[in-house]
Amino acid sequence: MTKTVLHTDNLSIGYTSKAGKTVIAKNLNLTLAEGKLIALIGANGIGKSTLLRTITGIQKPLEGNVFLNDKKTTGYEPLELAQNLSVVLTDKLPPSNLTVFELVALGRQPYTNWIGTLSENDIEKIREAINLTHINHLSDKKHYEISDGQLQNVLVARALAQDTPLIILDEPTTHLDLVHKVALFKLLKKLTHETGKCILFSTHDVDLAIQLSDEMIVMTSEKTVQNDPCTLISEGTFNTLFEDEHIFFDAEKGKFIIR
């Protein structure tokens, strides 16, 4: 039995505003286990980002709880949370002169002293992260000198250097071509198996996710289900993914077909 890193208990997500609560999804009971690569899929605007924001503690749950290592995420100090959960976001990086090495090194911030001095152990972890993501040849380059695909690897390396049991990536494959998408998926898969980390990522590349992830969380307006890709296919879950009569999921080929 693999260890559970994060689980949600009757979680309801959404927004509270003056007009009242807007529930986006409710009764979510998800389990993220060690060594698994888990894809989160769903149509645009279905609430993938809201779910990720709630899990990472940026946003409060409407109801229910998120447990990270059996402790509520709301009970974590910022620093303690940073030592257990790292993220790769879609945010554009602000202009700076940061080199690739320095960018990855920032991942060690939750462990360094008040002025951010890197210890031998920190340097070791950074080197390890750089090796695992194959960006050795880039380490002295400025972060704006490399391609989008390379930058995505660098951001993954930064999350790795943060040395957390759980890494969450928000749409890491957007802007990448097919070759780089596949390369990134394979890298994530390798990382989960080699380091035993749990990686959760949201994506629109459903067919690639079906082939490469261990488990998938499918969000539709009706319900949210989590299972391994084969079971999801046999249950016909993917046909409910898009509410569009022209898009149809071919279970044999494992991909979407337009009629």
């Binding site: 990472t56 940026i58 910022p78 620093l79 303690e80 949370l81 940073a82 030592q83 959960l85 790292s86 993220v87 976001l89 945010d91 554009k92 990086l93 602000p94 202009p95 700076s96 002169n97 940061l98 320095e102 960018l103 920032l106 991942g107 911030q109 939750p110 360094t112 008040w114 002025i115 951010g116 002295d140 704006y144 000198e145 943060q162």
Partner: protein
């Protein structure tokens, strides 16, 4: 790191350059005092002319120290703001901090007449002016920050800063309309900016304020580095964003506010010096940027002051004019260069 050697060399040259400029600054002026005499006087040795010693202790040394404090403080506040607002064009003057400080000072100098005599004496003291000026820049910075939270657009933030600038100057204009000639003269002299005229006790207050601001900045170095990846990443790495932002805002307000109170609004040092440091050291690491901005700010301010003295001449040019003449082209050049670093 491959750049260690280069950085050591740069730091060493900066430090030597700063020392050299310090002596040149003291030695030059309407009366030129030989280098050796300056050195003797500062180290407590014999000085051949009494008048020289008097000039050095009472005029040149306070002015040089004020230049150093001003340069260090304004440049550092610029660095903090550029990182906090993720905007290469941010600086105490651009974001309206200096005008906020002016408004505070205008209230005190021009508005003191409305207060009872014993109160006006209190507010017109150095402490009163520093407090009003710091408060003024703090309020403006808070307002800019509030607006920037809603806008998130870097150009819009700059325009908001400019708007606050013109709003406060309009307000100052209204205040001057209601004040006496004497008050007006006092305020006008202040607004021209001057590094001289600071008594030793005033320099003491300024040093404490600048020291406090710089100390708060040192403790912001690590979070500033995290902010290089943007607010969300910084939070995800365990940074307490609310607290960090408050410390940075307080530090910049104290720096810009206290300096503006004593020497008047000084343009372009805050925006230009951090960029020169970034170009020289080719890094965004605030551990290096902090110290290089500090040294460069002091050196450039001393240099501007040397020019404003017009060596050998009797006239002193307003320091604000010199910093603008040097600073404005630097900013334009930066915009034209506009590599990916800028956007």
């Amino acid at each position: 790191m491959p750049n260690t050697k280069r950085n050591t060399f740069l730091f060493a040259s900066l430090f030597i350059g700063l020392l050299l400029l310090f002596f040149i600054n003291i030695s030059l002026g309407s009366v030129t005092i030989p280098f050796k005499q300056v050195f003797n006087s500062l180290t407590g040795g014999e000085v051949s002319k009494q008048a020289w010693e008097y000039i050095i202790i009472n005029y040149r040394l306070p002015k040089a120290l004020t230049a150093i404090l001003t340069g260090m403080g304004l440049a550092t506040s610029g660095l903090l703001m550029q990182t906090l607002f993720r905007n290469p064009l941010a600086g105490p003057d651009v974001l309206g901090l200096s005008s906020g400080a002016s408004l505070g000072v205008a209230f005190v100098i021009l508005g003191a007449g409305f207060l009872p005599a014993f109160l006006s004496d209190v507010v017109l003291s150095s402490y009163g002016i520093v407090l009003a000026s710091t408060l003024g820049s703090f309020v403006v910075l808070l307002l800019v920050l509030l607006v920037s939270q809603r806008l998130r657009d870097t150009i819009a933030i700059l325009i908001v800063g400019l708007m606050f600038g013109s709003f406060t100057s309009a307000f100052v204009g209204i205040l001057t309309y209601f004040s006496t000639a004497e008050q007006l003269q006092k305020f006008t002299f202040w607004s021209l900016g001057s590094l001289g005229n600071l008594s030793w006790p005033s320099i003491g207050i300024l040093s404490v304020c600048v020291g406090l601001g710089l100390l708060m900045s040192v403790f912001s170095i690590k979070p500033l580095n995290a902010l290089l990846l943007g607010e969300n990443y910084a939070r995800s790495m365990g940074m307490n964003f609310q607290k960090t932002r408050l410390v940075i805002i307080l530090a910049t307000s104290i720096l810009a506010g206290s300096i503006t109170a004593f020497v008047g609004p000084i343009a372009f040092i805050g925006i230009a010096v951090p960029h020169i440091a970034k170009l020289l050291f080719q890094t965004s690491n605030h551990v290096i940027l902090y110290w290089s901005t500090l040294l460069l700010g002091a050196a450039i301010m001393l240099f501007c002051d040397v020019i404003s003295q017009m060596p050998g001449g009797d006239v002193t040019l307003p320091i604000n004019a010199i910093t603008s003449i040097i600073g404005a082209p630097v900013v334009i050049w930066l915009l034209v260069r506009k590599r990916k670093m800028m956007n």
